[in-house]
Symmetry: C2
Subunit: 351 residues, 2 copies
DNA sequence: GCACGGTGTTAATACGTATTAAGAACCGGT
DNA sequence: ACCGGTTCTTAATACGTATTAACACCGTGC
């Protein structure tokens, strides 16, 4: 492959008999390009095609122009190209909306020195793109603050807080959806609840819990116990069995569970309930506060009562919000997306 | 988005009492930076830290050339983000290898004026990336020739020929795999064959057919009939039933089928054989010359005897070849990838 | 004292693009 | 003929960085 110098706008200008500034007006196609006469415009395009011209993305970025590239970056260790990945539908929504808006999608998946990072040697790699959608549960909050400080346009998928800065994000309304789930359960007659959440305290977890407490307060019920999902250590089943026994002894008739991104905890819950002879929903109603992942356990899959977050729609909405940010001088924005209830069959009237 | 100006190397230079060139030497850390005195270097780093300096990647790229982006473009009308898409595994392989080599992957999926094209107003959009992997069965051969003429580095996935130019590609060895399949069937005792192929005459179809004829010649057998897969028009089943009847009357004991990208033809074949009371493989052995797609028909899925092409590996190999092209001045290259046999249960001894 | 080599810094420049104010040409009205 | 407005093009400049040859200074040897 010969390393021929690529043609620049100066080359096009010479070939078309105009100035480089005119070439730029035509090629960049902005509002000012309307000033250019049609015959001049055509001469420039002909010359560009003949010489095989294409824009130098770096030069355009340096000058503050746009490359019509939107980036996608995840803080998770695995890039979401596996269809079973929780984040895969977000990628589909992002890809679809990006294409529709006439942008190409840049997957920031490169690994250097065994790691994938936004900042490498102080250089923000994301700036190759005009803006970026960010995914992931376990974020680096310092990196987010850095992105805000350098005014790099991004939209995070999910609600996140970083002290001292305001972020743009598209987030499911977990507060409302969880409150509605409690409302539904109390309408069925449930008065005693238990609640299982992941051990970390990320914002989505805190939002669901806030919705839980709102739902209880609405129904005039006292605060009720919140527990952490056991991890997958050897004693986890025994721990869960003990919790289950305690709940039943306390008169708990409904359990709310925030699913993790794998289905291990839900599989364990079903196993422990079956071992204890507890039927779902006859003896204990169980509602999930989100979608379970595709089950990797053998056997029929339960149709859980839950709410579902529209992941593809959220990916699309993130792109829409990001493009709004690119087009305006306003500050960070937040968008809330409703979750949809799914009836399922894991909830019934209390015994 | 507030428009605060970010600190530049000129600002650092002023704060440290040195020139911008000295700042650049320190920050870029190349071989030449060893010339800078330690106390000067420290003053620069202190000033950079105090002012919150980060490198502008676009300016650095403009000065140096490459963006470390590899592109992916498909000539198919749908971008392969659906996991059932024939091309999805290629995308997975491309993404994985691209990340490993420290490049980010740019999906050229943008749609303008209702279309997705490489050349728009004569401008090659792919050139935002350093090079590009191309996919698709129904290609625009003129576009490929244009890419070659402008020395744009690309690798096509699959063997393709364009008059007057030589292309770089990674291709399955369909000739060898089909010849081996014929060899296997003749070893089982089959002497009379029928062959079904798609109606178009793309290179992969021609390669398989060449392998078929090689296998026959090896076994000292005369040429045998080649037919086109019926389309999905109303009379297609009748047409296929007539062919089946003719084959059986002629003593055909083995059928070779090149699968299309959908499974419609294979579903039809199974239906027609069952209607005619022809059992596979007892009455007629059937071997597929490639992978069938995931079946959309209800019921158990047959384990077809076939060869399989390693689509993810091919995606990876395409990236490897593309990076070789980027790093060398040599001309176009071709790489052949072996297909793996799958025993399946649709082939047996002739009656 | 002069010449040479080594060390350290910098002025100048280039990379390729986008923007803007200025200039030129043209047209219509008075 | 002159003036003002419109259309179109362009000279000049900026964006932020990396590179290179030139320069200044110092030390050493003759």
């Amino acid at each position: 492959m010969s390393q021929r110098r690529r043609p620049t706008q100066v080359d096009i200008a010479r070939a078309a008999g105009v100035s480089q500034a005119t070439v730029s007006l035509v090629i960049s196609g902005g509002a000012a390009s309307g000033q250019v006469a049609e015959h001049t415009r055509q001469a420039v395009l002909d010359a560009a095609a003949e010489l095989g011209y294409t824009v130098n993305a770096a030069a355009r970025s340096l000058r503050g122009g746009r490359n019509r590239l939107l980036g996608l970056y995840t803080f998770e260790s695995v890039f979401p190209v596996d269809q079973r990945d929780f984040y895969f539908p977000f990628l589909l929504g992002v890809e679809e909306a990006t294409a529709e808006f006439g942008y190409d999608l840049l997957l920031f998946s490169s690994v250097t020195s065994g790691e994938r990072r936004i900042y490498s040697d102080g250089i923000n790699r994301l700036k190759v793109a005009d803006g970026c959608v960010l995914l992931g549960r376990h974020i680096d909050r310092a990196v987010l603050a850095d992105l805000v400080h350098e005014d790099f346009p991004f939209v995070f998928v999910g609600r996140r807080e970083v002290p001292g800065v305001e972020l743009s994000y598209v987030a499911p309304d977990y507060v409302g959806a969880t409150r509605d789930m409690v409302r539904r359960l109390t309408a069925l007659g449930h008065r005693r609840f238990a609640y299982l959440r992941p051990a970390d305290h990320q914002e989505p977890t805190r939002d669901r819990e806030a919705g839980f407490r709102q739902g209880l307060a609405e129904a005039g019920l006292p605060d009720q116990p919140v527990h952490e999902l056991p991890d997958d250590s050897p004693g986890a089943d025994a721990e869960l069995a003990a919790l289950l026994a305690q709940w039943l002894a306390d008169g708990v008739t409904a359990l709310l569970v925030e699913p993790k991104e794998d289905d291990q905890a839900i599989v364990a819950l079903e196993r422990v309930a079956a071992d204890a002879g507890v039927r779902i929903p006859e003896d204990l109603s169980v509602a999930l506060l989100g979608d379970p992942t595709r089950s990797s356990a053998p056997g029929p899959v339960r149709d859980w009562t839950r709410f579902t977050l529209p992941r593809e729609d959220m990916g699309r909405a993130a792109v829409g919000l990001l493009l709004e940010l690119l087009d305006s001088d306003d500050g960070p924005r937040q968008l809330s997306v409703a979750c949809a209830p799914v009836d399922g069959d894991s909830v019934g009237r209390p015994r």
